[in-house]
């Protein structure tokens, strides 16, 4: 066992911190909660790309750096620590690029990977539908073959970053006769295609967090089929393992974590035994969760897809985020209810945002209940229910 980082890894972390601190100093952006999924800043994405920090683990032949998953985790950890606006590239970098690498044709790899790496292709995900949440295999959006094209009809929902996305990674039914797990395929769809439309959904914090995305006779060339036809369900399970693997589930609200500790210190609240105890407990939970997530990166480093490992770390981490938000609101007392824009709002409204927003964390990318099912089946071998 070895819980330390190599000298190169420490250097890399320092390099990231220098870069991010410089960005903040120049006033390009300020640390924000949920910035990994709500902070759209093409300029930032471009500057990150220029340093070679998108597609860090991907093979060099597609423009990647071929670096380790630990390096990538350090990278994302620091982005989250500083609340950096990385939403433009986050999905492409975290999972769609990986999906194309694992399953896509050579042509797709050449078309998309270098552009994701350059920070020029932003992705949204099309998995859930109005009638399809946890039971993903029930999805109804249809794709029908028509010569060299597929014609797609249906509706996706809960698509993050959709109004900025240039492409959607969409799962659709290509064989309605087959058993439902075996009739789904994955496509990359250009968001500008005729027939694609989006309607924003406002979340409980007042933010445009998602879109409904509609497909009305959208024609997609066959070359944008990712992987094998009708194997999409198995591909999406793989992709979800990656979606759940990262530090964003633990550190999405890290700016709040730092701010509330600082606030408690400055206001002498940290000398109140009850608050002291709760903040220390948060620190403990945070550091324990961090180890569960590094375990996931080590699994990936061994060349395995993280499965129950990322289910575990994600389920754990979203509980931490809720706990953090709850304690932060408690520490702020009545001030916690003040919203951004109000006189006297504390901590730039981060606690309130996080308190409300964190209700959704244990739903997206697999509900905690689904994740525990995965743990029970895959880690513990319990019989199916």
């Amino acid at each position: 066992m070895d819980f330390s980082f190599t000298e190169e890894q420490n250097k890399f972390r320092q390099e990231l911190r220098n870069f991010l601190e410089e960005e903040i100093k120049k006033g390009y952006w300020e640390p924000t909660c949920d910035a990994w999924v709500q902070g759209f800043d093409p300029g930032f994405t471009k500057r990150v790309a220029q340093r070679g920090w998108i597609g860090l683990t991907w093979p060099k032949e597609y423009g990647g750096q071929g670096r380790s998953h630990i390096d990538r985790l350090i990278l994302t950890e620091e982005m989250l620590r500083y609340g950096a606006p990385a939403a433009c590239h986050w999905f492409g970098d975290r999972q769609v690029g990986g999906a194309i690498l694992s399953f896509g044709s050579e042509e797709l790899k050449k078309e998309f990977l270098p552009r994701i790496i350059k920070g020029e292709a932003y992705f949204g995900l099309g998995m859930s539908e109005p009638g399809t949440g946890s039971d993903l295999a029930s999805l109804q959006t249809r794709a029908v073959e028509d010569g060299d094209y597929y014609v797609i009809n249906g509706q996706k929902t809960w698509t993050s970053c959709a109004s900025f996305s240039q492409y959607f990674d969409v799962y659709v039914r290509t064989d309605p006769e087959a058993p439902r797990h075996r009739g789904i395929s994955e496509f990359i769809i250009d968001a500008q295609s005729p027939g694609v439309s989006r309607i924003p959904m406002i979340d409980i914090t007042g933010t445009e967090a998602w879109n409904d995305v509609f497909f009305d006779n959208v024609r997609v060339h066959k070359k944008y089929l990712v992987g094998e036809k009708n194997r999409g369900f198995y591909q999406v399970l793989h992709q979800l393992d990656y979606e759940r693997s990262g530090m964003e589930r633990l550190m999405g609200n890290y700016p709040l974590f730092e701010a509330i500790i600082q606030f408690a210190k400055e206001n002498k609240l940290s000398q109140e035994p009850a608050i002291r105890n709760k903040l220390a407990q948060l620190q403990i939970e945070f550091e324990v969760g961090r180890l569960l997530i590094y375990r996931v990166a080590l699994v990936m480093e061994e060349g395995r897809a993280p499965n129950w490992e990322s289910a575990m770390s994600k389920a754990y981490s979203t509980e931490f985020e809720k706990h953090l938000a709850g304690v932060a609101m408690e520490v702020l007392g009545s001030y916690g209810q003040l919203m951004v824009g109000s006189k006297l709002v504390p901590l730039r409204g981060m606690a309130l945002h996080s308190y409300l927003g964190s209700k959704g964390y244990s739903l997206q990318a697999g509900t905690t209940e689904i994740l525990k099912n995965i743990l029970a089946a895959r880690r513990l071998g319990l019989p199916s229910s």
């Binding site: 403990i284 324990v288 209940e369």
Partner: protein
């Protein structure tokens, strides 16, 4: 970064597990709980022959030249087996402390005997009253007399004194800021002890030092400056307890999952019910997180890195995680789990004792708070 054991550690783990499955059945554990000594001399000797007592000591004392991290692996297996006896007292509390701060002469005197399994050692640290492991809670006094010292006072929750040959006694040698560790003959007639009846069935004692003389040469480490050594002893003991607890709750998770697969109600294994599955998933998460935070602390100790915060995190976390694990383990086992017919109670009882030993979650949360600058 690497979170897996080396090949050698895997071998050590396997050897230890096989040996303990063979020699340390629950029937044996029960016998030891009911016996006066609480351990078997024969098994003790076999463990010495396997090199367990000496594992983390240098070869020149007869040890195995392995690390604290290797010892952590062994402690985990001992926790898994509910191994009774004074291994923890002799090796983790006393032996490694002598290695840390003893003079060469003291090391030569005590370590080889410990390593060969000939002598048993322990540590007398805590005292009656609320003990929060700070220097001010040490009241037992050692006063100077003719160049020697006279120890007077009562220590509480001292493990294995009834079978110990030597003990380390933490005593006050100056009213303020003066703590000294003494090495004493545990068989001295001026030591009176009472074995307490405990939840874990281990042998914790009340020990009264009735004007016990100790030669000056038996000071371990430095006069009046013993507290920093004691802090290190507590830290190592806390991590050692965490390791035992990891073995304990890992086994309990396995037992519970096996039970959930076998036990049928409503014509199906109860493990097919989602409620039970989610309980088990929660247990697995607590076990894994406790494992990693424990091994992080053990690794740092082993590497000689400063780890006040990491040790505190490990012990605070596992204290509460283990309580959650047991609440669910008992719920899933149903009524059989609260009988002595089933093995679960051995684990439940030991986990509570380990949670209390060397600082509970509240104690370590306060340390984390200080480390955070709160």
């Amino acid at each position: 970064m690497k979170l897996t054991l080396t090949e050698e550690q895997e071998m050590l783990k396997k050897t230890a597990r096989d040996f303990l499955v063979d020699k340390c059945s629950k029937k044996f554990v029960k016998q030891m709980e009911e016996s006066e000594t609480g351990y078997s001399r024969e098994l003790w000797q076999e463990m010495a022959e396997l090199g367990w007592m000496g594992l983390a000591f240098p070869g020149k004392y007869g040890g195995g030249d392995m690390s604290f991290l290797d010892l952590a692996v062994l402690l985990e297996e001992m926790g898994r087996a509910c191994l009774p006896g004074p291994f923890f007292s002799a090796v983790v509390l006393a032996g490694l402390s002598i290695l840390d701060i003893g003079s060469e002469e003291q090391k030569q005197e005590y370590l080889p005997k410990l390593i060969r399994g000939e002598k048993i050692l322990t540590l007398a640290l805590t005292e009656p009253g609320y003990h929060n492991y700070d220097a001010s809670s040490v009241i037992v006094e050692a006063t100077r007399n003719d160049g020697n010292y006279i120890i007077k006072g009562t220590k509480l929750f001292v493990p294995d004194v009834h079978i110990a040959d030597y003990l380390l006694c933490v005593a006050r040698t100056k009213p303020k800021n003066g703590i000294t560790i003494f090495l004493a003959d545990a068989k001295n007639p001026r030591i009176k002890y009472t074995v307490l009846k405990t939840i874990a069935g281990d042998k914790l004692c009340e020990v009264v030092f009735d004007q016990m003389p100790v030669p000056k040469a038996n000071i371990l480490g430095r006069l009046n400056q013993g507290w920093s050594a004691v802090q290190k002893i507590i830290q190592r003991a806390a991590v050692g307890k965490c390791c035992e607890m990891v073995g304990n709750i890992q086994r309990v998770l396995e037992m519970t999952v096996d039970y959930a697969k076998e036990r049928k109600q409503f014509d199906r294994p109860i493990g097919s019910f989602q409620v039970i599955q989610h309980y088990c998933a929660d247990m697995a998460t607590d076990v894994d997180s406790a494992r990693f935070s424990t091994y992080q602390a053990a690794w740092m100790l082993s590497e000689g890195l400063p780890c006040t915060k990491e040790v505190a995190i490990a012990k605070a976390w596992i204290g509460e995680a283990s309580q959650r694990v047991f609440a669910l383990a008992h719920q899933i086992h149903g009524a059989i789990g609260v009988t002595v017919e089933h093995d679960l109670h051995y684990y439940t009882r030991r986990a509570k004792a380990a949670e209390l030993a060397f600082g509970d979650a509240n104690f370590y949360r306060e340390i984390v708070a200080r480390e955070m600058g709160l």
